[in-house]
């Protein structure tokens, strides 16, 4: 009888520098041949001590630092910090600022999902959708550049409102951009959804059960792809989202395909919100009168603000002792929990599935390392 072939597992480093890990995440994989036995994420390669910096900055200076906390959707970072500060100081934001904020947040969500679409397709092997996704994203980047001058880290939403009003040609160009993106979505899904190779690579791969997701604090599209109807815009409403009618896309079986398709549905919902917000954009001033950047001092106290970001719940726990600088700024990102749950359900599959799974989780490293 042939002696049992001694195969020992070997450890492969999907190291800090690896094309599939977006940024610098290192996964120590213990592998048996092609099958993955154990995943151990090693993080900290992008730990830039954002929380320590914010403790020594005034409230207006914190916002550009928090832009870099989650640089693919910096608008939501600005927004969640100003929401926390407004909850601390009980500030009422003018109508026009609220509408501008919703417009900017939804545009940023679409841009982030387009980047997700491109990078996921590239990780599973199709190079062309990456370029298509980024081509549409440039339309939105032009809109941001028109209002706040920067392509990626905007520093636009401030405590009490927004910093600058939108130029005249913003609304027509925004409508044109949404119409183009709405049409192009059919090209995107046409390119991939009927493709048998794509379906075989993503359908039924790496299923994330709902209770495991909730237990590990997973939120956002990944949670809704596992069948849990939980969207902070509906369940813990903030801003003026209750004025717009849009549904929350939910998909039942939590595999890679559902996570991918859910983000495409979310783009469609964001387009609906945007068109309603653009129609209802009122006139008026864009920032609360009393809030001056240099002298903003909220009363002592603490508040946790959380919003629905494209990668799940983004929250800031703000503690203030009444001085110009916050006492403590705890930033919570969606990718942190998604990376934490990866070793629980991501094992005993092939390395190609791990790459597909990791791509659909849409983990980016600044949210994890901060």
């Amino acid at each position: 009888m042939m002696a049992e072939l001694r195969t020992e597992e070997f450890i492969v480093n999907m190291g800090p520098h690896h094309p599939a890990t977006h940024g610098v995440c290192r996964l120590m994989l213990t592998m048996n041949g092609e099958k993955i036995v154990k995943i151990e994420p090693v993080i900290g390669y992008l730990h830039r001590a954002i929380e320590k910096i914010c403790e020594n900055r005034t409230y207006a200076q914190c916002i550009p630092i928090l832009d870099r906390f989650e640089y693919v959707t910096s608008m939501s970072c600005n927004y969640v910090f100003s929401l926390a500060a407004e909850r601390l100081a009980e500030i009422e934001v003018p109508e026009r600022a609220e509408y501008l904020r919703v417009i900017m947040l939804e545009l940023n969500r679409i841009a982030s999902h387009l980047l997700f679409y491109g990078v996921t397709a590239m990780d599973i092997g199709a190079y062309t959708p990456f370029l298509y996704g980024l081509r549409e994203r440039e339309l939105i980047i032009d809109l941001f550049e028109m209002t706040c001058g920067q392509r990626l880290t905007y520093n636009y939403i401030r405590v009490g409102g927004v910093s600058k009003d939108i130029p005249k040609q913003f609304v027509p160009q925004c409508r044109k951009a949404i119409k183009i993106i709405g049409e192009k979505l059919t090209d995107y899904t046409g390119l991939l959804n009927e493709n048998p190779i794509w379906l075989e690579r993503t359908k039924g791969i790496a299923v994330l059960p709902a209770d495991l997701a909730i237990a590990y604090g997973v939120s956002g599209p990944v949670l809704r792809a596992s069948g849990v109807q939980y969207d902070i815009r509906r369940n813990d409403p903030y801003c003026i989202y209750d004025r717009f009618d849009f549904e929350i896309p939910v998909r039942p079986n939590g595999d890679c395909f559902d996570r991918y398709m859910l983000r495409i549905d979310e783009i469609r919902q964001s387009i609906r919100i945007l068109s309603q917000a653009l129609d209802g954009l009122p006139e008026g001033e864009i920032r609360h009168k009393k809030v001056k950047d240099a002298t903003f001092k909220p009363p002592a106290g603490e508040a946790y603000a959380r919003i629905e970001n494209s990668r799940g719940e983004m929250g800031i726990y703000l503690v203030s002792d009444g001085s110009k600088k916050p006492l403590r700024v705890k930033t919570r990102g969606g990718s942190y929990n998604q990376l934490q749950v990866l070793p629980q359900y991501g094992t005993d599959m092939l390395i190609a599935d791990l790459v597909a799974n990791f791509a659909t989780l849409d983990v980016i490293m600044p949210e994890v390392d901060r």
């Binding site: 492969v12 094309p19 092609e34 092997g125 199709a126 062309t128 370029l131 190779i197 390395i351």
Partner: protein
């Protein structure tokens, strides 16, 4: 023969004249043979590496236009000498000696891959009487030679002393071996109709206009062609079967540790393989260099091959990548049965003489 050659455009007249000139110099026959085959070898090597360089540039332009961008533009009109510059740069790169016990394997892997890619052109019919040596086992020789790449990929994978390269090498060996079977089977269905293995006979059997090409020999031709093309993309490791050098999973697979000229050899060999595979497809299914006489035959051959190469390139920029086990399953559970069924039915038709 098919019409009279048009002056010098039919290159075989030129070679004939040169051969007589050489004969006349009175050297002994062996020397004459050595010189002719040496010059033919150099010509084939020169022409092919130029074609391969051109194909690399062409792939970058096609991928750019598929992705709505420009591709190389600055270096020459539409960047025509971009790949020449790439090759020159790769010449100057430092040749990194990595710490590995089997340096011989690491060193010889790219050489074998490079040489194997060119060996197949001994029997390739470029045009009317434009063939280096018309062996009577032509297609069998090509099949034997193109399997050398498996050995070189395995050697590269093993020699680089790197986990990713090892994974890439193993995967490529499994893939190329399991796609060899349907490829050979689909070629056999054509050989049944031709009756001889020699490439010139295959092309002669398809002389005349389009209706004589085997690709239109319903129902065997199209099936054989499709399975052949699928197996061929797997043979030269191109998407959707580019598992060995999957950028995202294996950080470019077996050629992780190669830099400079060694990497250039792998890179060039891959494109020469692609040209070989499409040249075989043209010879077997699209009637080699047959076509109207006013265009010289070797231009017909070149044109048809470039169309097939275009097809292979478009595959790369539209399809995602298959997983390793799906790839194996597709080969053994789908391709092999289809090609063998096609082979058997073609044999029966040929035996009873029913084919039309």
């Amino acid at each position: 023969m098919i019409g009279k050659p048009v002056l010098l455009a039919e290159l075989h007249g030129l070679f004939q004249w040169l051969h007589e000139k050489l004969q006349a110099t009175g050297l002994s026959q062996t020397w004459v043979d050595i010189i002719t085959y040496a010059t033919l070898g150099v010509i084939i090597f020169g022409v092919l590496s130029l074609i391969a360089l051109y194909l690399i540039w062409w792939e970058r332009k096609i991928s750019a236009h598929v992705q709505q961008r420009f591709g190389p533009m600055r270096h020459g009109w539409h960047g025509w000498y971009q790949t020449v510059m790439d090759a020159l740069k790769l010449l100057q790169k430092e040749d990194i000696r990595i710490v590995t016990r089997d340096k011989v394997v690491f060193f010889w892997a790219p050489v074998i891959c490079f040489v194997a890619a060119f060996l197949a052109y001994v029997v390739m019919p470029f045009g009317d009487r434009l063939i280096v040596a018309d062996l009577n086992i032509g297609i069998l020789y090509i099949m034997a030679v193109t399997t050398f790449t498996i050995i070189s990929l395995l050697m590269a994978g093993w020699g680089s002393n790197n986990k990713y390269a090892l994974l890439g090498g193993m995967r490529s060996a499994a893939q190329v071996v399991s796609y060899e079977v349907p490829m050979v089977a689909s070629i056999l269905t054509i050989i049944i109709f031709v009756g001889s293995l020699s490439m010139m006979d295959i092309v002669k059997a398809q002389s005349g206009l389009i209706f004589n090409w085997y690709v239109f020999r319903i129902p065997f031709g199209p099936i054989a062609f499709l399975t052949y093309i699928v197996a061929a993309t797997a043979e030269c490791n191109r998407t959707p079967f580019d598992i060995p050098e999957a950028e995202q999973e294996l950080v470019s697979g077996y050629n992780v540790e190669y830099s400079g000229m060694k990497f250039a050899m792998f890179f060039l060999a891959e494109f020469v393989n692609m040209f070989t595979v499409s040249a075989i497809a043209v010879t077997l299914f699209f009637g080699g260099w047959n076509g109207w006489d006013f265009i010289p035959s070797w231009i017909w051959f070149l044109g048809k091959t470039l169309i097939i190469v275009l097809l292979l390139m478009l595959f790369r920029w539209t399809y995602p990548r298959l997983r390793v086990d799906q790839l194996m399953e597709f080969a053994w559970k789908f391709l092999v049965p289809v090609t063998f069924a096609n082979l058997i039915v073609a044999g029966i038709f040929k035996y009873f003489g029913w084919y039309w």
